[in-house]
C-alpha cells in the first residue's frame, strides 16, 4: 500500500467523509484521468487519423475525432500491400518462437530452481550475466553464422534461437517462480518414485500457469514488435513481417498520414485485442515480473 491510500483510509477511520478527504479523492481521480488520457493519446490519435479521409487529416486546429468515419483507408492499405500475408508470417514466427521459449526456458528454470547438483550456482550466475549482456554484441557473428547456414531470407534465424533456452530473462523468471513452490511437493513425489520429468510435467508446470502466461505474453510481444533482426534477415517481400512491411509501406506513402496510421493500426490492433483477452494474465504478470526486481 502506498502512503496516499493508507492516509486516506486512516482519515476515513477517524473522520468519515471529511471535506479534505473528498477533495483528495477528487484530485486523485482527476490526476489519474488526465494521465490516462495523456498516455492513450498516441494510440487514440493513430486510430482517429486512420478514420479520416485522405487529405483531411491536415486540419487546423486538429480534429480530435473524425467528423465522418471512413473505413476506406483500411481497404486502400490492404489492397496496396500484402498485409494479410505479412500478418500470417508474423503470427507464424511469433507462435513458433513462443512455443520454443516457453518449453526450453521453463526446463532450464526447473533445473536451476529445483534440481540439486553441484554446479547449479555457476549456471545460475551465467544465466544472470547473460541477462545483462547487450544483444548487439553477438549481432554480427550471429548474422555470419546464419549466412553460412544459408538461412538468409528464411524464418529460421528468428525462430531457432528461441528453441535453445528462450532468453536468459525468461529462464530467470521461471526459476524465480519455481523456487517459490514449496520443496516438500517434490520430495513427497520422489519418495513415491516419481522422476524429475514426471515432477516437472505433472506437478511443477500445472502449478505455474501464471508464469507460463507471463513469459508467453512477453515473448509474443517481443517477436510481434521485433524490428532489427527481421530487417537484417528477411529480404523478400513475401517473407516480411508486419513491422518490416509497415516500414516498407511507409517508404511509399511517406506523407499520407491517414493511410500510414491505418497501416500502423493494422499492426497494433492484434496486440490490443490480445491485451483485452489476456488482461487477467497481464495483471498476474505484474507480480511475476516483480520477482525479477528482487
Amino acid at each position: 500500500m502506498t502512503s496516499l491510500s493508507a492516509t486516506i483510509r486512516h482519515a476515513e477511520k477517524k473522520a468519515g467523509w471529511s471535506p479534505a478527504r473528498i477533495a483528495l479523492r477528487v484530485l486523485l481521480h482527476l490526476v489519474l484521468i488526465t494521465m490516462s488520457l495523456v498516455f492513450s493519446t498516441p494510440v487514440l490519435w493513430m486510430l482517429s487519423t486512420s478514420l479520416k479521409p485522405v487529405g483531411r487529416e491536415f486540419s487546423y486546429p486538429p480534429q480530435l475525432l473524425p467528423t465522418t468515419i471512413v473505413w476506406r483507408n483500411y481497404l486502400t492499405v490492404l489492397s496496396a500491400v500484402p498485409f494479410g500475408l505479412w500478418f500470417r508470417n508474423t503470427l507464424f514466427i511469433t507462435i513458433a518462437s513462443l512455443a520454443g521459449t516457453v518449453l526450453t526456458a521453463s526446463m532450464a528454470g526447473y533445473a536451476l530452481a529445483r534440481l540439486r547438483f553441484r554446479e547449479r550456482g555457476f549456471w545460475l550466475m551465467l544465466v544472470i550475466s547473460t541477462m545483462m549482456l547487450p544483444g548487439v554484441v553477438t549481432l554480427i557473428p550471429r548474422f555470419l553464422v546464419f549466412k553460412q547456414l544459408h538461412w538468409m531470407d528464411t524464418f529460421y534465424p528468428l525462430i531457432v534461437p528461441s528453441w535453445f533456452g528462450g532468453g536468459a530473462f525468461n529462464v530467470f523468471l521461471f526459476r524465480q517462480f519455481f523456487a517459490s513452490i514449496p520443496m516438500d511437493f517434490d520430495e513427497a513425489a520422489r519418495m513415491d518414485g516419481a522422476n524429475s520429468f514426471l515432477i516437472f510435467r505433472k506437478l511443477i508446470l500445472p502449478l505455474s500457469m501464471p508464469v507460463i502466461a507471463t513469459v508467453a505474453i512477453f515473448s509474443f510481444l517481443d517477436n510481434w514488435n521485433a524490428f532489427m533482426e527481421p530487417m537484417i534477415y528477411l529480404s523478400s517481400r513475401e517473407h516480411f513481417t508486419l513491422a518490416i512491411g509497415l516500414n516498407a509501406f511507409r517508404g511509399r506513402y511517406e506523407t499520407f498520414y491517414a493511410l500510414l496510421m491505418a497501416a500502423s493500426a493494422i499492426t497494433v490492433i492484434p496486440i490490443i485485442v490480445l491485451f483485452f483477452f489476456a488482461q487477467r494474465y497481464f495483471i498476474q504478470g505484474i507480480s511475476i515480473t516483480g520477482l525479477a526486481g528482487r
Binding site: S3, A6, L28, R118, P141, R142, W163, F197, F227, I271
Partner: protein, 306 residues
Amino acid sequence: MVGTVAQRARKRRGLLWREHVDAYVFLAPWIIGFLAFTAGPMIASALLAFMDYEVLLPPRWLGLGNFTTMAADPLFRKSLGNTAYYTFISVPLQVTASMFGAILLNQKVRGVSIHRTAFYLPSLTPAVANTLVWLWIFNPQFGLANALLRLFGLPPQKWFMDMNLAKPSMIIMSLWGIGGEMLIFLAGLQGIPELYYEAAKVDGARNWDMVRHITVPLLSPSIFFNTVVGIIGSFQVFTTAFIATGGGPQNATLFYVLYLYRNGFQYFKMGYASALAWVLFAITLAFTLLQFRLGRYWVYYETEGR
C-alpha cells in the same frame, strides 16, 4: 518395506546422481543455445574486432587497427556522445516518472484497472507503428505537438527535424514507453507492508514524508533494477532513430547501435562493427558493475533483515 541403512544410502546416492544427470538434460537446450548463440558468437566477434572483414574478401588480421580507426572516427565519437546524452537524460526521467506513475496506479480507487491499461497501452505498441505516430504528432506543420504549443501561445517547433530538438524529442517519446518499468514498481509497491504506513501515521508523518522515508527506500531494489536494465536498453536505442530520423538531422540522432548497424549491414565492415560492439559491451559492463558497486550503499533489501 524399509530397507537396511546401507540400501537406503545407496538408493539416496543413486537418486542424487539421477538428479544431477536430469539437471543437465533440462539445461541442455539452454546450454547449447548459450554456446551457439551467445558464447560462440562473442568469441567470434572478439576475433573479428581485430580483423578487417568485408564479407566478400577473406578476413585479414589488423591487430588494433579497428580501435585506432575508432579513436580517430568523428562519427564514432558523435554517436557515443548522442547515446550518452539520450541515456543519461532519459533513464532518470523514465525511472522517476514510472515510479510516480506506479504510486498513482497503486491507489485503491474505482476504475484503477482501466487506468493501468491506459498507462501500459503505449508500451504494447510495436516500435515501428509507435514511431510513425510520433512522426505524425511531431509533424512541423500539422502535428498535434505544435497545435498544443500554439494553444499556449508558444512558437511551433520542428522537433525531429531540428538538430537541437531531435534528441529531446526522442526522450519525450520514450516517456510514453515506461509501462514495463511501472509494472516492476507496482510489484515492488505491493510488497510493502501497510503496517509501516500506519505506524508512521501514528507518529504524525505527512504524506510526503512517508513517500520519502518508507516508499522510496523500500522501492530501492526496483529502482536499482529499472536503472540497470534501463541503461543497458538505452545504450542500444535503435528503431526510433532508424525510422524517425535515419540518424539526422546532421547526425544529431546518430546513436551508437545505428552507427554500428550501418557499418555492419550497409558498409559491410563486419570487423569494424564487431569492434564497435565490443566497445559498447565494455561500456555497458562498466556501468553495470559500477551500479552494483554503488548499489551496496543505497539499495535496501528487506530480506537481509529477516
